[in-house]
């Protein structure tokens, strides 16, 4: 999850030079490929749970579950995870961000979990998500699927499934926009930030 998603109200930023990386068709193809890869590696849907990380990971997890379910003819469990309380920057940020209830459909003991998020960046959100998942039991395996891997990891974390590898500079930001949240399906790369405080990197 990119930092901009930290306050869950962040929407598209206007007035910055941007480049479209994927359009709606491109996004659909990328998710279709990821859904096939998940099935191929798991050899089916047994014990498979797709867990979307709030906010944009949740609709992506739903779409992947639909695709996987359609390919196999069996429904796949989908969960929603709010990792806020597990973040390592709560103290730095001061005012506590709003929480939403997580919703995990089953005890995860022996489940094979695929965590789903929009953008993989520093890896800190994924670290928080791994800790949060442990409250739901000891999963047999946890994997990570993201729409965009933009590099710049600060922790030893990598994705198992990547929709699009996108080398970026730290000044840029990547937005995965989804119909469910933003009213449009696309992935855009936004150029250098206008105001210096527009980005909230500690």
């Amino acid at each position: 999850m990119d930092d901009r998603n930290f306050d869950l109200g962040a929407g598209p930023v206007e007035g910055r030079p941007s480049k479209r990386i994927l359009d709606a068709d491109g996004l659909r193809r990328a998710l279709t490929r990821v859904a096939h890869e998940v099935l191929e590696r798991h050899g089916g849907t047994r014990d498979l749970v797709l867990v979307g990380m709030r906010r944009r990971g949740v609709p992506i997890a739903r779409r992947l579950a639909d695709l996987v379910g359609r390919f196999e003819g069996t429904p796949v469990d989908v969960g929603e995870l709010d990792v806020t309380m597990f973040r390592d920057d709560l103290e730095i940020r001061g005012t506590r961000p709003a929480l939403r209830p997580s919703s995990i459909p089953r005890d995860l003991t022996d489940a094979r979990v695929v965590l789903v998020d929009d953008v993989l960046y520093t890896g800190r959100t994924v670290r928080a998500a791994l800790d949060a998942l442990m409250s739901y039991g000891r999963a047999r395996q946890v994997q990570l699927a993201v729409v965009v891997d933009r590099g710049h990891r600060e922790l030893p974390i990598r994705a198992d499934y990547v929709g699009k590898n996108l080398p970026t500079s730290r000044d840029e930001s990547v937005e995965v926009r989804l119909v469910e949240v933003d009213g449009i399906d696309e992935v855009v790369l936004l150029d250098r930030l206008g105001a210096p405080d527009a980005r909230s990197r500690p």
Binding site: F86, I92, T95, R96, A98, L99
Partner: protein, 327 residues
């Protein structure tokens, strides 16, 4: 939430209460997990200062703090330096010097947590002060009603019993009225504090909250229990203490039960399916009949469970209110 202390709901805006209730939903989900511990208060020290007897509030704050990974210290008047005559403010200053980030205080004197909050940079949460306020109890009542009825605004809340000595009734009246419900306080004439309704109405007006709900005042008082129960969506019974009879305020518990006890027959005069609340501990057969206390309309056990989630929400939100840049 940007505040240092939670002392009463009289200075809470509807948005702040909403924020607490939303956070409480997330905390309730945490309580349903196989492992109920989350880390946001790691490294924080919370001191529970209970100068007056309490089971549910103290245990509930302790569990809430532990579920959030805080370190918790409990002190009570007996066995502490209070017995050596140390003043309240000095005791809490010492607690702060020992590293307390938050102090939860229950005290028999109305206003005690205010005196402490003024002196400390640590957050102070009122866990009940005298006859004055019990804000986290009111928040858990609000959350319980919202979970049961879906919404709070427009509802009619009847609070029945010893209103005069009840911090629960005062904070609940502030909370429900702030959220757009109408509250009717009902007690025998000797236990109904004259002017409480107009005082709360003036306070609501001052914070810009409606003082009328569908043509009825946001807070009203009566000693007619039938009038109080009419159209009530929520009925809260308050505990009656034996000491009140010694003071000559009530002739006998039996007479009180006959005139003001919440029985099945009386409850039938409220709205169909009205929610029954009680802050506990209950005197079954006095202010509430056992079949009402444990019947299908009772949310009394839920209140206790929700109490932990509400206190987790308050601790979580307060921990971010004092320091740190706005990001």
């Amino acid at each position: 939430m940007r505040r240092k202390d939670v002392l009463d709901l009289d200075d809470f805006s509807p948005d702040e209460i909403r924020e607490v209730l939303e956070t409480t939903s997330a905390m309730k989900e945490v309580l349903a997990r196989p492992i109920k511990r989350v880390p946001p208060l790691r490294g924080k020290t919370i001191v529970n200062c209970f100068y007056e007897a309490s089971t549910r509030t103290r245990v509930s704050f302790e569990l809430a703090a532990k579920n959030l990974s805080a370190d918790v210290v409990n002190i009570s008047a007996s066995g502490s330096s209070v017995e050596k005559g140390e003043s309240l403010v000095d005791t809490t200053r010492t607690l702060q010097a020992l590293g307390a980030d938050m102090v939860v205080m229950r005290h028999a004197a109305s206003g005690a947590p205010y005196a402490v909050a003024r002196e400390l940079s640590a957050s102070v949460i009122n866990g009940g002060d005298g006859w004055h306020a019990h804000p986290t109890q009111a928040l858990l009542d609000l959350f319980t009603v919202q979970s049961r009825l879906g919404r709070i605004d427009g509802r009619r809340i009847a609070i029945i019993g010893d209103v005069l000595h009840s911090r629960v009734a005062r904070s609940a009246a502030w909370g429900f009225a702030t959220m757009g419900a109408s509250v009717i306080l009902c007690a025998p004439p000797t236990l109904l504090p004259i002017g409480l309704d107009t005082a709360i109405l003036a306070g609501l007006r001052a914070k810009g909250v409606a003082t009328e709900v569908a043509g009825t005042p946001a807070v009203a008082m009566t000693h007619d229990i039938d009038a109080a129960l009419r159209d009530a969506d929520v009925v809260m019974a308050l505990r009656v203490q034996r000491e009140r009879m010694d003071a000559g305020l009530l002739p006998s518990l039996r007479e009180y039960a006959r005139a003001y006890g919440l029985t099945r027959e009386r409850l039938a005069r409220a709205r169909f399916g009205a929610v029954v609340l009680h802050p506990g501990p209950m005197n079954e057969g006095v202010e509430i009949a056992p079949d009402v206390a444990h019947g299908s309309q009772s949310a009394i056990e839920e209140q206790v469970t929700n109490g932990v989630a509400v206190r987790m929400a308050v601790l979580y939100l307060l921990a971010g209110g004092r320091a740190g840049p706005a990001v």
